[in-house]
């Protein structure tokens, strides 16, 4: 690896002990010898296996649930229903004042997405749990489903989630997160060209090699040890404490080793119900997603729709940027109200634009609840923005890389959400990229610096 030290030479220190030094990963020795303990790498005597019965419909009313046959299946020890869950309606980000609580741990009268958890079977073997799950009889009244952002926001659309009352999240700022900077209409009026485009993306599954899960051991002390692969230990601890109405001191969460997460293991979907099972049976419980559940049930990255309208001058300066962003939360909030907020704050991207208008919506549909994934709320926006940048460059007849130099943010520039830019390095990265990719740009761009504007 080559370190280019000429950039920011006056700001860098070379006597640091760790930074800039090659170091082996602390956990790699365990990985290559197969001795790293992942949560599932334990055999507990008397272990029960939890299998969830899930909705086959996108949207349905539950008329009745008949557990009689499943309960008689050999090996079944207990079946958990919504009545067993002390605080059944929750939302993960209640911890940071995001409300209302809008999601059931186990469904009561309705299911709002295909795959929603309804009852949990606890059995002596995985096979018995599986077989018994097939014998649970749920009587559904299928309801019309909303399966896209556009359908959700259409007038008269069925309401996905009654806890919200409308198919979008209501912020303290209203129906969306808003950024208002400069005068975007004046910017468009003075622009040489205007380009409006719509971009869309589908949900994306993280597909970690290790599926989501946990193993819970009831301890003699009355505590519960929960071995989990959560990426969000304290969200899990606090939400479990709320859902089970159990003092946090009773919950001993053990984690830290995650077989691939990428943001896909931040929802609290297995621990509360597995701990409840251990509590009600007095036996250790394992709840591990099958590969099919990992792909279908675990939250994906949200689908998004982005409308971007830009005003640009012949010399390449973007003078106005207007964005409407729609983040498909699926049926429940999980982390998406926060994702949509991040999305709003991210525009207009790493460019300095004097007039910016952003509306970012968190939309509910009858789809698998979406949640965190690497830069959620930002990554898809960046995809759209950079495609838009190429189109704008073409529109004004400029080289796309030079076009980005013209608009790149630099130290001291005010961002649209009113944080002054500090520590920018976009210019320098593009200079290096120009060399590495052998994509030449005019000398004046190679003379630019993030630290100051020329002239």
């Amino acid at each position: 690896m080559e370190l280019r030290k000429e950039y920011f030479a006056d700001e860098r220190k070379d006597d640091l002990k760790e930074i800039g030094q090659p170091r082996l990963r602390a956990d790699a020795l365990g990985h290559v010898t197969g001795t790293t303990t992942f949560f599932a790498d334990r055999n507990l005597p008397g272990l029960l296996h939890l299998k969830m019965v899930r909705s086959p419909h996108h949207h349905a009313r539950i008329r009745s649930i008949d557990l009689s046959e499943a309960g008689r299946h050999p090996g079944v020890v207990r079946i958990l229903t919504a009545d067993d869950v002390p605080h059944n309606v929750y939302t993960i980000l209640t911890l940071i004042q995001v409300g209302p609580e809008d999601e059931t741990v186990l469904a009561t009268d309705k299911v709002r997405w295909k795959g929603e958890a309804i009852v949990a079977i606890l059995a002596d073997s995985e096979r018995a749990a599986h077989e018994a799950a097939q014998k649970v009889k749920v009587d559904y009244e299928v309801l019309p489903a909303v399966l896209s952002i556009d359908e959700a926001l259409a007038p008269g659309a069925p309401v996905v989630n009654e806890y919200h009352g409308q198919n979008f999240y209501r912020y303290d700022s209203g129906e969306c997160r808003k950024v208002r900077f400069g005068d975007v209409e004046a910017g468009f009026a003075g622009a040489d060209h205007i380009l409006e485009q719509t971009y869309g993306s589908g949900p994306i599954e993280h597909a970690p090699t290790e599926t989501t899960g946990c193993i819970v051991m009831p301890e003699g002390s009355g505590r519960f040890t929960c071995y989990t692969n959560t990426q969000a230990m304290f969200f899990t601890l606090d939400n479990t404490s709320i859902i089970l109405q159990m003092d946090g001191a009773k919950l001993h969460m053990v984690g830290g080793t995650v077989g691939g997460g990428f943001g896909g293991k931040v929802d609290v979907t297995v621990e509360p119900i597995a701990i409840l099972g251990a509590k009600l049976t007095g036996r250790p419980v394992s709840f591990i997603y099958s590969r099919e559940e990992e792909m279908q049930i675990s939250s994906p990255r949200a689908a998004e729709k982005l409308v971007i309208k830009d005003g640009v001058m012949k010399d390449g300066r973007i003078v106005a940027r207007y964005v409407k962003a729609y983040i498909d939360a699926g049926a429940y909030s999980r982390h998406s109200p926060y994702g949509a907020q991040k999305s709003a704050a991210h525009f207009p991207g790493p460019y300095t634009v004097e007039n910016v208008w952003v509306d970012s919506y968190c939309v509910y549909t009858n789809r698998t609840p979406s949640s965190a994934m690497r830069g959620f709320g930002v990554t898809i926006g960046d995809f759209a923005l950079e495609v838009q940048m190429d189109k704008l460059a073409r529109l004004v007849g400029m080289d796309p890389l030079e076009f980005r130099f013209v608009n790149a943010y630099r130290d001291g520039d005010m961002k649209a959400h009113r944080q002054p830019t500090e520590g920018a390095a976009l210019i320098e990265c593009m200079q290096e990229a120009s060399r590495a990719a052998q994509w030449p740009v005019a000398e004046k761009y190679l003379q630019m610096s993030s630290a100051r504007r020329e002239g």
């Binding site: 082996l24 990963r25 990985h31 290559v32 010898t33 077989g259 590969r291």
Partner: protein, 160 residues
């Protein structure tokens, strides 16, 4: 469920267990014998996390019945090091940043070992082909390919 006896060697050690008829080698190794170096990523033959070597051939232990392994010689990543001395593949994976979350690593190392056992000086294409049944979601594969090639070079140096 009917139990059947199985007997095989695991990393050179004799093992004998009663397992449920129809149980996979994956479950027998992990749950009966306690070799948790073998990972369950999909249990449907699509990810390679559970790969082991049975009588010199790479096998997906999630698709192999334990009772079909009577008398076999089974190798897993858990038995690859000699005390603190790592196998060249383990050393190369460790030093070459070819493992991140580590969940695919034991299966990946088995796929690589099965390759080098048959073909000590593989080409890059041979390596890519050999690990094509093993999914890694973290590394992007390039460090893994490089580590396997580095281990092959280290082997040829020590053999010379």
């Amino acid at each position: 469920m009917k139990k059947v006896p199985v007997q095989f060697t695991l990393n050179g050690e004799e093992k004998a267990e009663f397992v449920e008829s129809g149980v996979t080698l994956l479950k027998a190794l992990r749950e009966k014998i306690g070799d948790t170096s073998v990972k369950a990523g999909c249990q449907q033959g699509t990810c390679g996390s559970c790969a082991v070597i049975v009588d010199g051939e790479l096998r997906l232990s999630c698709l192999t019945l334990a009772e079909r392994c009577g008398g076999a010689a089974i190798e897993t990543t858990g038995g690859l090091a000699h005390g603190e001395v790592l196998h060249p593949l383990q050393r190369a994976f460790n030093e070459g940043f070819a493992t991140q979350c580590g969940f695919c690593t034991p299966g990946m190392i088995m796929a690589a070992k099965a390759l080098l056992d048959h073909n000590p000086q593989p080409s890059r294409e041979d390596v890519v082909e050999a690990i094509s049944g093993n999914i890694c979601r973290c590394t992007g594969y390039e460090p893994i390919i490089q580590a396997i090639l580095a281990a092959a070079r280290a082997n040829s140096l020590s053999a010379a």
